[in-house]
Symmetry: C2
DNA sequence: TTGTAAGCGTTATCAC
DNA sequence: GTGATAACGCTTACAA
């Protein structure tokens, strides 16, 4: 498979490669229709495809941005990625998506690989152990934005849910329905700002309402285990706030295992809307984040940075929305 | 952000860039420990990151492959991607994933973009309208493998489910349970080999068992509509084979809308295992494909092609597996 | 209107 | 052991 280059095109079209380059970049202004035609023909004949690697090297622009998500299995990540891709497409950019699996080491590797690939900017759902690397990025004026989380002390624009508001919304909804026991199920907090904020908001509310907090701790497997124990000890609250979709999966598996009925035995409200919440039996009441807007605005700001426009280094908060379905019932009617 | 190049390193280490290049590529054999040390220091001091774009241009190897999936929302795609990534990682390769949305035009664009980016190979879940482009790829000896589908007359190794066997498995399971009405729900057939095979297998079986076929046609929205009508006319079979996960979602939405009970009112068996099938109420009986193996072997063959090893241009079929849960009940007991 | 030539950051060949 | 130098495929002053 001999690669066709701009030289080959130039030769068959009987022009210099400069002219071909002009043609490729649509600078037709002062080009005789004749040459233009010849070049066009040559390109088709040879089935020429420009080498963007060479172009990037010269231009110092790759027209691609990198996205590093903490865990691609979250519906939130998928939606954010989709929004960013759409935006990038509009700017004639491509996107490389990497999944760091919430592992700072993987995250670091990916960042370095993306830098080596000379991507023009980065959208990151950051883990909490690469402060030094992030500082270096800002010191180098490298275009980066954060999504879903922020890192204390790192001046990078961040786009995320108003977590406090989200928990409040969920909490108040359960309170309104008459619950006096509200538990909170989360993946391990691990210094991740979104999780800290959700947990803190929950603890605060418990305190303010003089309620005993109930929380699980540990990874997905441990959620299972700790709920399992609570059920056996009959210590499970009558209502639960679930911090995200993956945690919800664990809760539902457990509910099934123990033959619990939702909402009769247990009322459930979850952060993050997911397609199946709608047709699950019963429909899951949910506090949804505007993932698409979050991704879109993150992308928009990233491109402002890339194009050296004005932008604000601040934390952008997005309001959640309560979607009522059938997983929460009046406490009285239990 | 001034970019540090190999020249800068060479200068501060007081050696030529050739030597630095040797160092970078771990050809230390004839290098004095002293220079080696100086280079190492310089690299750290300057925080140097090699430019893989330049390297690729020179080497004519980008160490990345492209994956084009027809629809990233299928759990099958996600799993295949994951398997390919894992494999590629082992070969020190990176992966760029593109979602063609089942649109031949998008597919073509992506292929061209990936070629322009000089990826070393391609894994494609092909749509059915780019035969010419695919032929050109094989004519150019460009490394490509297909997954999930194959294209008649294009000599590209293809890795996919034994669809006939999958439908047979589902059909027989329902037959065993005593059903005499078995419907088939699929997305539009559209010349897509996997869908054709599944539908044909279904039709064959109906014929062999002298049963009246019941099929839906049209996109996700139309599935909804056509089932809706069937229910209203009370023409819905007592059991349904659902061709994939996305179609299953539609069926479940509809089931919920009409307040049907599974499996009492309707028995369901679906192709593709998905996490939620396990904890849905009831658990969904499923014919699973070995997505991970499919992706892995596709990747393996792709790298054989890239590395110019021997390989077979043929269709590799994978056996499905029945996973019984609770969405199918004995017909008698209804 | 088109061409010449330098340069982007690497690697490879061949000297020394 | 180390270093010039050309080359990869493209863009872009500048020249003609």
């Amino acid at each position: 498979m001999k690669k066709i280059t701009i030289n080959d095109v130039a030769k068959t079209a009987q022009v210099s490669k400069t002219t071909v380059s002009h043609y490729l970049n649509e600078r037709y202004k002062n080009m005789s229709p004749d040459t233009r035609e010849r070049i066009s023909l040559a390109i088709n004949d040879l089935n020429y495809n420009p080498n963007v690697i060479a172009k990037s090297l010269k231009n110092k622009k790759t027209m691609t941005i990198g996205i590093i998500v903490a865990n691609i299995l979250h519906s939130f990540s998928t939606q954010v990625i989709r929004a960013i891709e759409d935006y990038a497409h509009g700017e004639n950019y491509h996107v490389i998506v990497c999944n760091a699996d919430n592992d700072p080491v993987k995250e670091k590797d990916y960042i370095q690989m993306l830098l080596a690939k000379q991507v023009d900017g980065l959208v990151i759902i950051p883990t909490s152990d690469n402060d030094e690397l992030f500082s270096k990025l800002v010191a180098d004026d490298y275009p980066v934005v954060f999504v879903d989380r922020f890192i204390e002390g790192i001046s990078i624009p961040s786009f995320l849910l108003d977590n406090e508001n989200a928990i409040q919304t969920a909490f108040n909804h359960l309170l309104d329905k008459g619950y006096e026991e509200i538990g909170f199920v989360s993946q391990p907090i691990e210094d991740i700002s979104a999780r800290i904020e959700r947990q803190n908001a929950y603890m605060d509310l418990c305190f303010r309402h003089k309620m005993e907090p109930f929380t699980t701790s540990g990874g997905l497997a441990l959620i299972h285990q700790s709920l399992d124990e609570a059920i056996k000890k009959d210590a499970l609250p009558k209502s639960l706030i679930v911090a995200n979709d993956l945690a919800l999966f664990e809760v539902l598996k457990l509910v099934k295992k123990h033959g619990l009925n939702i909402p009769e035995d247990l009322s459930l409200i979850s952060i993050d809307d997911i397609e199946f919440a709608e047709f699950f039996n019963p429909g899951i009441t949910v506090v949804a984040q505007p993932s698409f807007s979050i991704g879109e605005q993150a992308a928009q700001t990233l491109f402002e940075i890339i194009n050296k426009k004005e932008y604000e280094i601040k934390i952008h908060r997005f309001k959640p929305e309560l979607i009522e379905r059938d997983s929460v019932i009046e406490y009285e009617s239990k």
